[in-house]
Symmetry: C2
Subunit: 338 residues, 2 copies
């Protein structure tokens, strides 16, 4: 298996990306293709231990910055590392691409170079509800807003397949995130999606509320990208804030020995467990190929785990599964097209 | 000042409601009107200490249950306690009404009996972001979904006045909750609301993200009721879950003496501080009168604090302020009507 890594994408590129990619290639036992500016990559390689790693370098002269307009940048920069890396997948020269660069640009490159799976109306990125409920996957995570019922239905299908093939959950439960548990609660899109999910053949358990997420009431939480993004970021911010409050208040009353030996290491460990950096990267669901996109702030360990995600998606035939199930879903639930 | 309390509304009515209403009348030094079934109320009064409290009883033969369809119930049950209590405000016999009953029914009764303030397109209920940021107020809290730009603009105005008059914050900052900080992020409603807020004369600071809420980046967080509801309930669930994790993990390593003297009481105190029951009740914003609605699970202390909210809203002329500012807002920002 060959994984193309966008060596130039992300806040810590190329240093941390190349470092992580080499570790990832060794750890996951895959062939590595580093894509980017040769001098920059070679400078990193010169300092690295590469024995036993099968890797090659593909030149990409341009880089897309984090603040660029995604569609414009991809259109103008045909030689950008993310575009070249995605093309390798399109041509069959690589089995997957991993990037920590501009999320929007990576999505657009995937949609233009690989194309959406036939019938897919919007590609989506989800996120596991890390630390709190490792068996919960939320999508959309922020890529798509103003979602219509047929988008949400397809998210549910793709999330369900992700939970099954990537998280190893059998017959995953699927819920719609709403402002009330009963059918009929929610905005128009949710209300109209409910009956579509009910006859979709997925293991749909109905609506769920915000408090149900940390309780792990469903494996797949389906929601608009605006809400999904707020959920993920609020969880991040609140967790951090709450652990700080606990630490400060206990620090003033616990004996100092207990602080250093118990309180601080325990809270640091919990903080780490709940930190988004553990996610590494997430596959873009709904395109004709495996594209794993990580956080711009990613360092080497995130690249390693993103490569693991890519390998699992390839081995689990995630793309093919979405293609097949989408066709059979079409027969069960006819979503209104708009 | 006279406050009408719906003695029959809520999971613990009439017992906890009457008990709380009497304490509230004494604590806030207001006249109390108990509205409901006379025998039920009198049975509670018989066991209570009522010396020094000025109170009266107004009969309402019917009760609206928590599972009833709000509009149908209000239409059919003219003699329901919440309808009769709201009518007292409409007739000038009471200055405010407090209820722990069916939120939807209370809203409909307020809209039908008191009517919306002229120009208000949707009445709204907000919620303080309790415990984490006492200076943050989120609205809509779940009453209104599929909000349009003109709704969100009016929520911002009402939230700003609430923060000023009820929370004592001078020139409160207002932000739109979105999936990105920059202008242009968000769904269509948010993108279109941004320029309206920018020229509204309110202290608008732009978009904010989920992680900014627990950091207290804005005093007034404007959002659709679906998102607001998810934020509030996720915060509730995650706080509870996280404190449990901390307690369990520290319990296994701290010396047992530290557990009982420090860990457990501290976490219990934090839990209490973050608990929704502290809110008591929130005024329905945008109707011609003060209507404070609490959680159905409320017990006596929540009734006491809801009565405090009602008194502050009456004294702060909240309704009149909304009426006046709405008129001047109209001159500044012309919202598209749909």
């Amino acid at each position: 298996m060959k994984i193309a890594v966008d060596a130039m994408g992300g806040d810590y590129a190329p240093e941390e990306i190349v470092k992580g990619a080499l570790v990832g290639a060794r750890e996951h036992d895959v062939e590595l293709i580093l894509v980017g500016q040769p001098q920059a990559i070679e400078a990193e390689l010169a300092e690295a231990e590469t024995r036993g790693i099968v890797f090659s370098l593909v030149e990409a002269p341009q880089v897309i910055g984090m603040e660029e307009h995604p569609a414009q940048a991809v259109r103008r920069k045909k030689g950008a590392s993310i575009v070249v890396a995605t093309r390798l997948v399109g041509e069959g020269a690589a089995d997957a691409v991993v990037t920590m660069g501009h999320t929007g640009a990576a999505m657009i490159a995937a949609l233009w170079v690989l194309g959406p799976i036939e019938g897919i109306r919007r590609a989506t990125i989800g996120t596991p509800y890390l630390g709190i409920q490792e068996q919960t996957f939320i999508l959309d995570g922020g890529a798509n807003v103003d979602c219509k019922p047929d988008h949400l239905l397809q998210f549910a299908l793709m999330g369900s397949l992700y939970a099954e093939r990537m998280m190893g959950i059998k017959n995953p439960t699927v819920a719609l995130l709403s402002n009330g548990a009963e059918e009929g609660k929610g905005g128009r899109a949710i209300i109209e999606t409910f009956p579509l999910l009910a006859k979709s053949g997925l293991n749909f358990i109905g609506n769920m509320e915000g408090m149900d997420i940390p309780l792990g009431r469903a494996n797949v939480v389906v929601t608009d990208g605006l809400v999904g993004n707020v959920v993920v970021k609020l969880t991040e911010g609140l967790t951090s804030r709450l652990l700080t409050v606990v630490e400060e208040e206990l620090a003033s009353i616990l004996p100092s020995q207990a602080l250093d030996s118990a309180l601080r290491p325990t809270l640091a460990e919990i903080r780490k467990r709940y930190h988004y950096s553990r996610i590494g990267g997430m596959p873009l669901l709904g395109v004709n190929g495996v594209v794993v996109i990580g956080h711009g702030r990613s360092k080497a360990p995130a690249v390693v785990s993103a490569m693991g995600q890519a390998k699992r998606a390839v081995k689990g035939n995630l793309v093919e599964a979405i293609r097949t199930d989408l066709a059979s879903l079409g027969a069960k639930a006819v979503a209104p097209t708009r």
